[in-house]
């Protein structure tokens, strides 16, 4: 699997996302990119501010859900939108909790240029999974809209 890809799932109450990628960092980054694009089209967002993301989790599912929730929360807290995501540390060795660090880039919401389509209340643990598939990785999450 060379190119990461994702698809939106039919979830009656909220919104579900499934993503495939060759590596775990790619998987996490692609999930974040899809989530943010569902809030606001990426083309409208410039890379002007940088935020650090630091989370820990008992397993890969917790790391994924907390990574996405942290990005969503940073956006809500600072009234910002993000378009560039990078993993700087993914430590799965040893006993949990495992650690994940990353950097996100974007800019404050500008009502003149940005046209956000929806707010994501949170990323849920319901039906969330991260698994190996076809030589790469697959993740699934449900968002509370």
């Amino acid at each position: 699997m060379k190119t990461a890809r994702g698809e939106w799932l039919d979830h009656t109450g909220d919104a579900g996302l499934r993503v495939w990628a060759a590596t775990l960092p790619d998987l996490l980054v692609t999930c974040a990119a899809y989530m943010m694009r569902s809030i606001c089209p990426a083309g409208e967002i410039r890379s002007r501010t940088t935020r650090q993301v630091v989370v820990e989790g008992h397993d890969l599912v917790e790391l994924l859900v907390r990574w996405l929730n942290e990005i969503n929360t940073l956006g809500s807290l600072h009234h910002e939108l993000y378009m560039d995501f990078r993993i700087t540390l993914l430590d799965l060795a040893g006993a949990p909790p495992h650690h994940l660090q990353g950097v996100v880039r974007g800019e404050p919401i500008d009502p003149e240029r940005h046209h956000p389509e929806r707010e994501i209340k949170a990323v849920t643990y319901h039906a969330a999974n991260v698994r190996r598939e076809g030589g790469g990785w697959r993740a699934q999450v449900i968002f509370d809209i």
Partner: protein
């Protein structure tokens, strides 16, 4: 269907027999006609999942607007024993105390109809909505502590609305037991500038009119007359509540491991009600509940200002709060169960309290009738006001449905809306709609929802709440 098999009990009630680790059976209120919609996704399985939780009493219940949620189904109700039972943030949801307020008015729909467009425009200008919106005030430190303890009363004391508003809210707009020291600094930061904001998604302010009266006595007590304008406000605790839930889930995931609670779905993570984690969640949740009460109180004031700007002060003076319900909440309540009075923790996730006549929690004005139950529909069809019943007290811990319930996924709704001019379609149906988010109107289009009339008829027939009036939408502000 895949998953659990349903056994019919009567015309409006279906049972999920106990299987596997279920501690109690599940019960779903629905007609046979509604069954295909509720069995084609995972909602029934979610009813079964909730039945696995320790200390659940009676049944894992679901109302006719049941649909697939996360953790609990939307439309789920579950009561837990205070000694043996648990509290689960997933049984409340991220939008803690998401709820609905209804205002009546002295305005006649026939006179106001030509002014609906400027009224919706005024709502759009006065009520901050959509992603990243900021409210009319920034509240931090001790002042935010007071919001978290006093709820709607805080807002009324600062000139946002009237004391009479507060007397007609569930819990009188203030849940006891809130500890303002428990929500995280981040929750406080997220909430600081979000009081008085609507949010997005299915949140709205709707101008409607009383279209049909089914129960003259109850309608008169609620000040709802045929042809009069009404206002409905649907929103919750915004980022503050989302953060309280998110923070609590981290604690509850650990707690479930500590207390050895087996979870069929991680989102159902929970802690015993008697544990420090359980008590802390209840106190933090109550703070978020009060944040939401204050939020809707401020929006009520902004709605009156919007009306005053178009129709004059007299119009706004005549707008009174009928009632307000919370439909994402966990509450400690006393219920008669198996012949004795018991204190229980009732989770309502997308379900409305529907207390019957005589309950002390219901405002004096409605106590003989039963609590007003506010059921918003989709933006193109109707909304309803019902009243709670003795039967609801017996069967559902005093609970009924909370809305129409989604029928289509958002993905399917966006596909169905492609190429259509939904705002024009709505206008042809006599409804003026404005929305901040570009995708909102498509995702929230009427076909995306079940027909609320079917849901309400089911609740009415099941005797959980009885119809008082039907409201017809005229203008809608969506987030």
């Amino acid at each position: 269907m895949s998953g659990p098999q349903l056994k019919q009990i009567d015309r409006t009630l279906w049972e999920l027999p106990r299987t596997g680790g279920m501690r109690v059976p599940g019960r779903i209120y629905a007609t046979k006609r509604m069954l295909p919609d509720l069995t084609r996704d995972n909602a029934a399985q979610q009813v079964a999942n909730v039945a696995h939780l320790p200390g659940i009493v009676g049944y894992s219940l679901a109302m006719p607007d049941i649909h697939w949620g996360y953790g609990f189904p939307i439309g789920g109700v579950a009561a837990f024993d205070l000694d043996e039972g648990v509290i689960s943030p997933g049984g409340v949801g991220y939008d803690i105390n998401c709820g609905v307020r209804l205002l009546n008015s002295e305005l006649l729909a026939d006179e106001v109809r030509p002014r609906i467009e400027p009224l919706v425009e005024a709502l759009f200008q006065h009520v901050p909505s959509g992603v990243g919106s900021r409210g009319p005030l920034k509240v931090t430190g001790d002042e935010l502590d007071r919001v978290l303890v006093e709820g709607a009363g805080w807002a009324v004391a600062r000139g946002y609305g009237r004391p009479a508003d507060q007397q007609h809210l569930e819990e009188n707009g203030c849940m006891s037991g809130a500890d303002p020291g428990l929500p995280s600094q981040r929750a406080r930061q997220r909430g600081a500038d979000q009081l008085g904001t609507l949010g997005s998604g299915n949140h709205f302010v709707e101008i409607g009119c009383v279209d049909e009266v089914y129960d003259e006595k109850a309608a008169a007590a609620m000040g709802l007359q045929t042809g009069r304008i009404t206002l409905m406000i649907h929103t919750g605790s915004r980022g503050f509540g989302h953060q309280v839930c998110d923070d609590s889930l981290q604690v509850m995931l650990r707690a479930a491991r500590t207390y050895g609670i087996a979870l069929p779905d991680r989102q159902l993570c929970c802690a015993p009600l008697r544990s420090p984690e359980g008590k802390d969640y209840l106190a933090a949740m109550a703070a978020a509940v009060n944040f939401a009460f204050a939020n809707r109180q401020i929006i009520t004031h902004l709605v009156r200002e919007a009306f005053a700007s178009v129709l004059g002060d007299e119009a706004a003076r005549g707008m009174h709060t009928v009632y307000e319900v919370a439909h994402n909440i966990a509450k400690l309540e006393t219920h008669e169960f198996e012949g004795r009075s018991r204190r229980l923790c009732v989770h309502r996730k997308g379900a409305t309290r529907a207390f019957g006549p005589g309950r002390p929690e219901v405002p004096a004005r409605y106590r003989e009738l039963g609590q007003p139950v506010l059921i918003p529909g989709d933006m193109g069809r109707f909304s309803y006001v019902l009243r709670g019943t003795v039967r609801a007290m017996r069967e559902t811990f005093g609970s009924a449905c909370h809305g129409a319930g989604r029928l289509m996924s958002r993905k399917a709704a966006l596909k169905a809306a492609r190429g259509r001019q939904l705002i024009d379609e709505m206008r042809q149906r006599g409804v003026v709609v404005m929305a901040r988010g570009r995708g909102t109107i498509a995702e929230e289009m009427p076909e995306a929802y079940k027909d609320v009339s079917q849901v309400v008829e089911t609740v009415h027939e099941a005797g959980l709440a009885t119809k008082v009036v039907r409201l017809r939408p005229l203008g809608v502000l969506k987030g």
